[in-house]
Each structure stands twice: as structure tokens, then as C-alpha cells.
């Protein structure tokens, strides 16, 4: 087994990695900034006894971040394996 993968495989691997990166950053941006623009509207809704806008900033977004990184780690690993780029 060689240490290197072919340039074609590497390019395809990187293209997929890049799309995953953008997906993650879009989700990140939505839950870091996007939904908090609407805190006024969301606060009109009650969720688990919380005003929803407050809840999203205090817990909701944080839970999304944690789940997002675990999901990312799994997805990126699958991409690495698909293109033979994973560690042995």
C-alpha cells in the first residue's frame, strides 16, 4: 500500500470535503446569527416553559453546535474512507 492517493482521488476527496465545510459553516452561521435576529418574534412562542428566542440563545444553538461537530466528524470520516484517504 502506498502512502499517497492518486491526484484524481485527492481532488475528488477535497471537493467533497469542501462542500461539507460549507454546509457546516452555513448551519453554524444560521444558529450563531440568523435565528437570533428574530428573537423578538420567537419570544412570543413558549417552548419547555421558556420564551423560544431566549431558549435558542441559552441552549438551542449550543445543542446544535455540539450535534453539528459530532455529525461533521462522522461525515468527514466517511468521506475519507470513501476516497481511501483515511488513516489506517
Amino acid at each position: 500500500m502506498s502512502d499517497q492517493i492518486t491526484p484524481e482521488a485527492a481532488a475528488a476527496h477535497w471537493a467533497r470535503t469542501r462542500s461539507l465545510m460549507w454546509v457546516c459553516l452555513i448551519v453554524w452561521a444560521i444558529f450563531s446569527f440568523g435565528i437570533h435576529f428574530f428573537v423578538g418574534v420567537l419570544n412570543g412562542i413558549t417552548f419547555l416553559g421558556f420564551p423560544l428566542g431566549f431558549y435558542m440563545a441559552a441552549q438551542g444553538s449550543l445543542i446544535v453546535f455540539v450535534v453539528l461537530i459530532f455529525w461533521y466528524a462522522g461525515r468527514q470520516n466517511a468521506i475519507d474512507e470513501e476516497f481511501g484517504a483515511a488513516e489506517d
Binding site: S32, N43, A57, S61
Partner: protein
Amino acid sequence: MAMKGDFTDNLGRIYGIYVGGFTVFVIAMAILEQIGMPPRFILWAYMAMTIGVYAFIGIMSRTGEVSEYYVAGRRVPAVYNGMATGADWMSGASFVGMAGSLYVLGYDGLAFVLGWTGGYVLVAVLLAPYLRKFGAYTVPDFLGTRYGGNLPRLLGIIVLFCCSFTYVTAQVYASGIIASQFLGIDFNIAVFAGLAGILVCSMLGGMRAVTWTQVAQYIILIVAYLLPAIWMSTVKTGVPIPQLMYGTVLDDIASMEQQLIAAGQTIKAHAEPFTNYTPRDFFFLIFCLMVGTASLPHILMRFFTTPTVREARKSVAWSLFFIFLLYFTAPSYAAFAKFNVMSMFVAGGGTTLAFESIPDWIFRWGSIEGHTLVQICGEKAISLEAVRAACEAKGITGGFNFTELKLNNDMIVLSTPEIAGMPWFVVGLVGAGGFAAALSTADGLLLAIANALSHDVYYRMIDPKADTKHRLMVAKVILVLVAIAAALLARTKPSDILSMVAWAFSLAGAGLFAPLVLGVWDQRTNRTGAICGIIAGFGLTLGYLIGNVYGFDLAKGTGDEFSWFGVKSISAGVFGIPAAFIVTYVVSRMTAEPSREMQDFVLRLRVPRGGQMMEHSH
């Protein structure tokens, strides 16, 4: 070194025993308290026990190997590295001050909760796996290799030093405050107790010792943080899950606020957004804290210690999980504390607190010398007479309003167990938790600074032929010198330095984020681009910070301070971070592309397979 293999193989068992031992200790304290042991003994016992454990781990983890010293031998499993990163990240200020900020700022304080967690998405996706693949010992080491030559390396060291040194000074200061508060000793002596606590963790074993003490410190700090919140939740609601139950407490706070407002008091509603910050301040702050998180060297270097790239990614996820446990509890802590305090004012249908009804804890915390922790009617609340005099001077008689009571951010967490009537063994536990938070962050920062000086300045730039023994000796001497410098500075209680900690995020983000991210994600970024980008981003941010806070004459409040679009100094990175990206990108494209060799290097960086790229001679 057969012992080492044994150690990493048996981590679960070792930390299991540790948790068991710690539980027994806490129970023993509870029993001793019941049979009449004085509180002072309990507080001392907590400090002695925890420092003893850290010293034991520190001494057991001493090492004479370079890779053990710098990156813990790269054998730290993802979950444990997550706990260590959690302790590394959550400073004395997070532990002690976060709930207090939320108490004061309400919804607007959640900018800190969001900013200090969301940055880990950037770390995971953009940086950590690639830096691990590269296999450097320090962050400037990556800049030096990717961009070639000593100038990028030196700029990296300057940025690192600027953001980490003020930060470590604040940690030493915090550990001194906590030690002096809980041990009842003079602050000037307590600083050195803090210093000793910091050095026993890091000096002999570098990253290896810091890693394993940070795991132990994380366990103490998270238990110490969660226990009082669970306690308050159980007392108030009957359910021991504060994070779920404080929704109803927010409701109660809102109705008490209505009651006070109806009586003509001006109250900023706790859950109401943008009462302290404008929406723009709020979002700029989140942005700067997130990018700063993803650029702070003491955090990034924790991900150099995992065995593989795959583990590095998982480890970021675990890190955020462990950080999340504290940060999603902080708002509930704040809500319960606010509920308790506000209840004093509306008790019995009234809206003011009568002077005779002021509880003892107000004077106990208010009369602590050297710090103003409790203010009533604008004066330090030393005694009933002092409060009465201060209020009467303002024309307030009989009792005072909720808005006249000002609690220092830093006292909410430390005093809540006492205010809520919890026993001393919980008070001592909280003190030990705050101390652990300050020590663990101080150690991470100290290593980041000392390693950059010993590895990048001494080994890479001054004496590349130095042998292992010599290198480690230099590393340890520098570590001790930096620690002593920070302690001496902390001793002077430099208020300017302490307020500069908030700057670290903007400075790190502006100086390091662009060259690190583009170094991986943009093959075309070259040496000239990176150098110009760092100088532009960092220079602009530092310039704005100094200009905004001090003005051209470097003195506060002389009227020559400037401000662009009203951006606050804590969000200074909103100019520097984009500037660094634009300048790096444009200059790189105006100048020659990087060598074929360097472009291949970047391509290899992106493929986990094939082991780490940088070979270190041992």
C-alpha cells in the same frame, strides 16, 4: 517506560478511582461539618486536597522526552482531550464571572455563551484536523513552515504573546483572589499560592502533566458548578434539572419585574433582548468571540495531542460537549440567583427591602477589604449603619429598591451557595472548582507562551542544534520565568491589564485566523500575503483598541479617543479579521505563487492518510 503504556491503557480505571476518591472526600467533609468541624478547616481541606492531587499528577507525569513535553506524546484519546480542553478553555472568569454577567445583562449576556461555544465549529471544520495532520509542536511552528522563514514565525509569536500574556496574568490574579477569599490569607501571599499551584502542574511534565491535571481539574470544576445549580433547582421546583426548570423561574422573575415596574422602578427585563447592548453590538461581539476562540493558541495546541486526525475531529466535538455542560447551566444559575435576590424585595407584597431585613450575607461579602463586591445606594455595603447613611444621603429612607443593590459579577457564583443557605462543604467545593478553573487555564496559557519561546525562538531561530536535554531545560526555565513575571504583574492588581483580557479574542482572531485558515484552504496563499495579512489585521485591531480606549496620548478619558461606527473595543476584531483575509488574499495573488513543493505540501495536509508530516528529531 512501561509505566506510560500502563497509564494511557488504564485511563478509565485511574480516573474512575479518582472520581470515587473525590466523592468520598466530599462526603467526608459533609460528615465532618455535621459533627461540628469549623468551616475554616473545611475550606482549607478542599484547597490542600486539590493542590495535593494536582502536584501528585504533575510529579508522576514528569518527562525527559521532547514530544512528551510538547504534545503529551500524542496519545491523548479524544474524550480525555475533550475534558482537558474544557478545563483549558473555561477560565476562572468563566467559572466565577459568567453567571454574574448573565445576572446583570440578562439576554444580552448570552452573546458570551454563544460566542464561547460556536467558535468550536470553526475549530473542528477549518483548523484542528489539518493542524494535527501537520504535526507541529506550536502554532507559530505551523506558520513558520507553511510560509517559510522566520518572519511569519516571529509574527505568530508576537500575536501569541500579546493575547496570551494578559490572559495568563488575569488567571494568576483570579487564582490569587479565590485563594485569599477561601483561605482568608492576604492577596499578596495568595498570588504565590496560586503560582505554586500552577507550576506544580506544568513545570516537570509540560503538556503531558498539564493534560492529565486538566482532566482532573475539569471533573472538579464541573461538579462544583453543577451541584449548587441542581440544589437550587430542587429547592425551588422539586426537579434536580436546573437547565430545564429555569423556564418557570424566568416567568417568576418576569412577574416580579412587573410588580417592581408597577411601583415605579426602572427595571431592565431579564429575558428581554437588547436592553444593554444594541443588536449590532450583540452580533459583533458573538462574531469576535467565535473567531477568537478558533485562533487562541492554547486551545489549538490541545488538538496536537491526539493520536490521529480522526481523533482530533472527534476530540473537538467532545471538547464542546464538556464546555456546553457548564455554559448551558450558567444562564440557569443566573436565573435562580436573580430569583433569590429579587424575592427579598417583593416578599410580603412590598417592593423595597427594609434596612432591618437586609440579610447577613450582604454585609459579610460587602465588608471584604480591597474589593467592592456589594454596593447599596452607590456605596460599599460594609454595615447596616453604612447602608442607612448612604441611602439617606440620597433621600432614601426605610428601605431601598432592587436597582439600588449592585452585586459584583464575580461574586454571584462564589456567594450563591451561602446566599441559598447551602452547607460549608458545598461552599468549599465551589471554591475548589473556581481555583481549578483558574489554574487549568493558566497552565494552558503558560505552556503556549513558554513553548513558543523555547521551541520557536530558542530551538528554531537561535540554536537549531541544541540537544534534547538542553532544549527541555530551556523550556522549563522559560516556563518558570514567564509564570513569575505573570505573578509579579498580577500582584500589582493591574486593572488595565485585567480589562484587556477581553481584547485577547479580537487580537488572536485578527492576527492568526486568516493565515491559519488560508494556509490550509487556499493553496495560492504565499509568504508575502500572509505577512501582510497578519500585520494588517493585527495592526488594525491593536490600533483600534488602543485608539478607542486610550486615544493618541495613551491616557484614558482625555477626549482624544476615537470610535468607528460606534464599535466597542471588545468587538475590535470586526475590522481586523476581514482585513486580514482581504489583504492576505489580494497580496498573495499580486505576488508569485508558492513553490510547487509548498503547494504539494498543502495538498498532503488535506489527506489524513500517511501519518503526520512534520518529523521531529527526538
